[in-house]
Amino acid sequence: MEIDARGLSCPQPVIETRKAILSKVTSFSVLVDNIAAKENVTRYATVQHYDVVETTTEYGWKLDLEKR
């Protein structure tokens, strides 16, 4: 599963991530294109016990989230 949060204003990337986590998805990716979104999603996911692996792409970042 992949959430495309590119171009969305704060805090929508986090809200989309939260919806995925609440629906008990244990492994998914979030595409973001600004640093605030990257940091907010990473912080939220970490608090929710997900490991976050960050890959730089040409548009921004791909965050791979995996339940610990």
């Binding site: 704060c10 805090p11 986090v14 294109d33 912080r43 970490t46």
Partner: protein, 359 residues
């Protein structure tokens, strides 16, 4: 990402920001108004003759510094990203009403913290309103409210607002006769230009680095019980409180506060409107200013919306004063809730329909 590193950054940035805010007051700014994003855009609107309230006219260098500080640090850190095209007109309208709400209360969220640090208990009432507004905004976001995606723009588009404020700085420094300057009232109370500018540059850079947001901290706390972002705001409050205490500027109470009124209902509702609009915009007035510096032309529209809102607020007698709120201001606050809620519900409804029809 190292969580504790992020928290350390916010603690340092918040503390420095709180100290600078009180220093600006000691050097001439109005009490509890080292920074006030709303008041300062209002003063700038006055300096440019967009309104004619003689007591609030001054091209505040703090704002120019905030925007340019964000611009410079984002260029240096390769974070300057020209983006825009996410419902610019709706952002203009929401920001317009955010400014109305702020001028009914007499302060943006930043000044609300500074008023609180100076012992102004009216700000506590406003804080409750601000939180209520944020919760209402988050409910709409959870129901699918969105202003749509932004897209990459040209460097000219992303840098235009910085160009405008740089031009304003040049006019302030070299052809001040083009601008209006209050000779009495809050607009006449000002720290030296160079110090105000430097303060703005430093706080602008810190706020850019730490994604400082008065609405974001409270939002994160309620949405997912995370207090990281809130730490920055708390440190501003604590640092300014200690500075006020040490310098004899702490006066606890509701009455006799500087540039403030005691109409609790409208302090609550004014700031509720600010919180409501800020969450839907994706950031408080300070954050919008910082984002505009980073090249976000949607936030640049928010800045213009706030300037327009400030001009209207004073041209049509909507802004409060130390004497209290105005009838027009109360109606405009209610109108703000109605307009923003209508916009939000139409957007949510349209998205649901599109989802059903598979568009």
């Amino acid at each position: 990402m190292n969580l504790s590193q992020e928290k350390k950054g916010l603690i340092v940035a918040g503390t420095i920001t709180g100290i600078i805010s009180v220093v600006l007051v000691l050097l001439g700014n109005p009490a509890n108004m080292g920074f006030c994003i709303a008041c300062f855009y209002r003063d700038i609107a006055g300096a440019l003759s967009l309104h004619s309230a003689a007591v609030v006219q001054y091209a505040r260098p703090e704002i120019i510094g905030l925007l340019l500080g964000s611009l410079f640090i984002s260029i240096a850190r390769k974070e300057f990203r020209p983006r825009g095209g996410s419902s610019p007109m709706i952002r203009f309208v929401i920001s317009f009403f955010v400014m109305i709400g702020a001028l009914v209360f007499l302060g943006c969220p930043f000044r609300m913290l500074l008023r609180l640090s100076g012992g102004d208990l009216n700000a506590l009432v406003a804080l409750a309103g601000f939180i209520a507004g944020i919760i209402a905004g988050v409910l709409l976001l959870n129901r699918g409210f969105t202003l749509g995606r932004s897209h990459t723009q040209s460097t000219v588009e992303g840098g235009a607002i910085s160009g405008v404020f740089f031009a304003l700085l040049l006019i302030l420094l070299f052809i001040p006769s083009l601008l209006k300057f209050s000779t009495s009232g809050p607009g006449s109370m000002r720290a030296p230009v160079i110090i105000s500018l430097a303060a703005g540059l430093i706080v602008g850079a810190l706020a850019q680095r730490n994604r400082f947001c008065m609405a974001g901290g409270i939002r994160d706390l309620f949405l997912f019980r995370d207090s990281t972002l809130l730490l920055g705001s708390i440190m501003v409050l604590v640092a300014a409180f200690i500075m006020n205490l040490v310098t004899g500027n702490f006066h606890l109470g509701f009455t006799g506060q500087s540039v403030a009124h005691t109409d609790w209902l409208w302090n609550f509702l004014g700031m509720a409107l600010v919180g409501y609009g800020s969450v839907l915009l994706g950031g408080c007035p300070l954050r919008q200013t910082i984002l505009a510096g980073e090249g976000n032309s949607d936030s640049a529209m928010s800045v213009l919306g706030m300037v327009a809102g400030a001009a209207f607020a004073h041209n049509f007698g909507l802004a409060s004063s130390a004497q209290g709120t105005t009838v027009g201001g109360r109606w405009a606050t209610i109108l703000g809730f109605v307009v923003i809620t209508t916009i939000a519900l139409v957007i949510i409804h349209t998205h649901k329909k599109e989802a059903v029809h598979g568009n």
